[in-house]
């Protein structure tokens, strides 16, 4: 399980990131100011640090310098400034990536996964029972045998896996997989769910939640 340190003084945002990351199976520790963060970094090891630049007590850039001095922990910084100079400054100080506010949490998670993959820490391959999903090469194996899925079937599977044990709304599943521009068609979604259940023998696991949508229960 990857441990992520979230350095963010806006509790609303740190909470949000924490909820989302923990649902994806990361362990999250939150520091609300630069001083607390540096204490945490000194004591413990983390797989990744998420760092807001505008934080109290110790400025984010200073903290970044400190992090890079004592460890090689990958770092992604969060900035509200949309100025190139700020991004360049952060990257020059050794940050691995950045994201600007306002961001969508999905994008943040994608960036976190990308950085972790680069450090060979990522969950490139996700396992559910006997099913192996390689997110990068988009290959799915069951019992070691490759199962061929259409791109939409694959995206749907990944969405369910990443939100396992959470009931997902029909409309939002459709929107995330097929895109926001298409008009919602419940039959298309139901058909793809049925095909996934059949191809991967997940009849028991992919549950229909009444009035809501679907859920992958592990």
């Amino acid at each position: 399980m990857n441990r992520i340190l979230i350095v963010e003084d806006e509790i609303a945002i740190s909470d949000l990131i924490k909820i989302e990351l923990e649902s994806k199976g990361y362990k999250c520790i939150v520091a609300n100011d630069g001083e607390t963060a540096s204490n945490y970094i000194e004591k413990d090891k983390y797989d990744l640090i998420l760092l807001d630049i505008m934080i109290p007590k110790v400025d984010g850039y200073e903290l970044l310098k400190y992090i890079k001095q004592i460890s090689e922990t990958p770092t992604i910084f969060i900035t509200a400034k949309n100025q190139i100079d700020d991004k360049i400054k952060g990257l020059n100080l050794g940050a691995d990536d950045y994201i600007t506010k306002p961001f969508e949490i999905r994008e943040l998670i994608a960036r976190i996964e990308a950085v972790l993959r680069r450090y060979n820490k990522g969950n490139e391959i996700q396992k559910i029972d006997d099913i192996e999903i390689n997110i990068v090469s988009r290959i799915v194996r069951k019992n070691g045998f490759e199962v061929s899925l259409t791109p939409k079937e694959f995206d749907l599977l990944v969405l369910l896996v990443q939100n396992k044990n959470f009931a997902l709304y029909r409309e939002t599943i459709f929107e995330k997989v097929w895109g926001e521009d298409l008009e919602f068609e419940t039959r298309t979604l139901d058909l793809h769910i049925q095909r996934l259940r059949k191809k991967l023998n997940l009849k028991e696991k992919i549950k229909t939640v009444y009035k809501i949508g679907y859920m992958l229960e592990i």
Binding site: E10, E20, S23, I55, P102, N163
Partner: protein, 468 residues
């Protein structure tokens, strides 16, 4: 071409022309004068020679001697023994241009003819073998025989004198030219030095060093130019600084605004997406909804302040008479509903002021909020109201909080300026409050005054027009 070169060239040309013209006249005058003097002398000499030869011949005839050419030559030679200052050369001719005697070499018949055709008793000049001669000619008749006598006098001395004068003049002229050119060079360098200073400074200013000035303290036109130049540079620097300040303030405004907008938006977007996608448990859902609510409130408060700020730029306000005691009590009552730990103490003298009550409420609420954020040690905020001597009404908001560091006091009224950005946000501050207060007070022809000392406290006061 550099100015000093122009000066030097100009001087050389002018002095050379003036000198050569004046020299030419001087030398010419001297020369003519010398010639005149010499010719007077020589014409006497020539007459004497002629007379003596003539009298010798007459005497010979009286003595009954036969006058032959050789006899005349004999007379001529004996003549030289009697007189001094003889002509240097002499020649005798008959009327047919037949030469009787000549010690003038290279004088040809043709020359003689041209000489003889001239007026008798005048003279002419001839250059013979690098020597200059003044030549006189006379004739007389003896026994029906015409004789011409030619005397040539060496006048080399005059020419030598002329040459000597010329060389002296040449040397003095060269010295005069050299001296005047050096002087002119030094003068022009002295004159153009301030100009090159000006040039250097303007280049520096052009390359962005707007604080450069010229240091020229002469009282002539260049000094005046330098003064005007410095004045211009001063104006430009001020303008540039003002523009830079405006750009910085605008940038700060945009940065501040972006930050204040983006943080709540990120939270709202994130929680809404969470709720939309997943069926979350009760606790998480509640938390998400709470966050969305409060972040939206924050945006609303920001947009309210911004709208107020923007509407103020139109300058339209509704002025009314306000009974200050009632007004402040009303504002404080509304404020007291929000805060818990802190007490607001009032010390308000009765008075009526003239102002926009809605806007003044914004002012007082903002100042109270700021005082709360300063975390007063005694948990008391004092609002004082008093009439002043000059028919104004002074309102002060006093706290014993942490104060404002000196270097920040002048900037706290700038848009989105926060003394401690991170701390300010703990209190939901946006850095726009004091700038709003300042703008409102300015519309009331008043201004905000801040007296503060770190860790001791802050007093903010302003004066309004009192109605009698």
């Amino acid at each position: 071409m550099k100015i000093w070169k122009k000066f030097v060239l100009f001087t050389i040309v002018i002095i050379s022309i003036v000198l050569s013209i004046s020299r030419y006249y001087i030398v010419k005058n001297n020369f003519l004068h010398a010639i005149q003097n010499t010719s007077k002398q020589n014409i006497n000499q020539h007459s004497l020679e002629k007379y003596m030869l003539e009298s010798s011949i007459v005497k010979g005839i009286q003595d009954g001697e036969e006058i032959t050419d050789s006899k005349i030559i004999e007379y001529l030679n004996s003549l030289k023994n009697y007189t001094e200052n003889n002509s240097d050369l002499v020649a005798l001719y008959t009327a047919d241009y037949e030469q009787i005697y000549s010690n003038i070499e290279d004088i040809e018949i043709l020359d003689i003819k041209t000489i003889l055709n001239q007026d008798i008793n005048t003279y002419c000049f001839k250059k013979i073998k690098n020597n200059h001669y003044m030549i006189f000619i006379s004739h007389w008749n003896i026994n029906n025989k015409t004789l011409y006598i030619i005397s040539a006098y060496n006048i080399n001395a005059i020419y030598e004198e002329k040459d000597r004068q010329m060389s002296v003049i040449l040397i003095t002229d060269i010295i005069i030219l050299a001296v005047s050119n050096i002087a002119i060079f030094i003068f022009s360098v002295y004159l153009t030095n301030p100009i090159s200073k000006l040039n250097k400074t303007s280049k520096n200013i052009a390359s962005g060093r707007f604080n450069e000035r010229v240091k020229i303290k002469s009282k002539d036109e260049i000094g005046e130019l330098a003064t005007s130049f410095n004045l211009m540079a001063e104006q430009i620097e001020n303008k540039i600084n003002e523009l830079n300040k405006q750009v910085r303030q605008k940038n700060d405004f945009i940065n501040g605004f972006t930050h204040e907008l983006k943080t709540p938006m990120t939270a709202i977007m994130g929680y809404a997406d969470l709720l939309r996608l997943k069926k979350c448990d009760e606790e998480t859902s509640r938390k998400a909804i709470q966050y969305i609510y409060f972040e939206t409130k924050r945006l609303e408060s920001l947009s309210f302040k911004l709208m107020k700020l923007m509407s103020l730029t139109d300058g339209k306000i509704k002025m009314n008479n306000i009974i200050i005691t009632d007004f402040i009590k009303k504002v404080v009552k509304a404020e007291n509903n929000i805060i818990h730990d802190i007490k607001i103490k009032l010390n308000i003298e009765y008075g009526i002021i003239y102002g926009d009550s809605e806007l003044l409420e914004v002012v007082i609420r903002n100042l109270i909020e700021n005082a709360i954020k300063a975390e007063p040690k005694d948990n008391i905020i004092l609002i004082k109201g008093e009439k002043t001597a000059n028919k104004k009404y002074k309102i002060s908001i006093i706290d014993k909080g942490k104060g404002i560091p000196k270097e920040h006091i002048n900037r706290v009224t700038e848009d989105f300026y926060m003394v401690d950005k991170s701390r300010s946000r703990e209190h939901n501050g946006s850095g726009i409050g004091l700038s709003l207060v300042k703008k409102i007070l300015n519309l009331h022809k008043s201004d905000i005054n801040i007296e503060s000392e770190e860790n001791i406290g802050t007093t903010v006061y302003f004066e309004l027009e009192e109605v009698e």
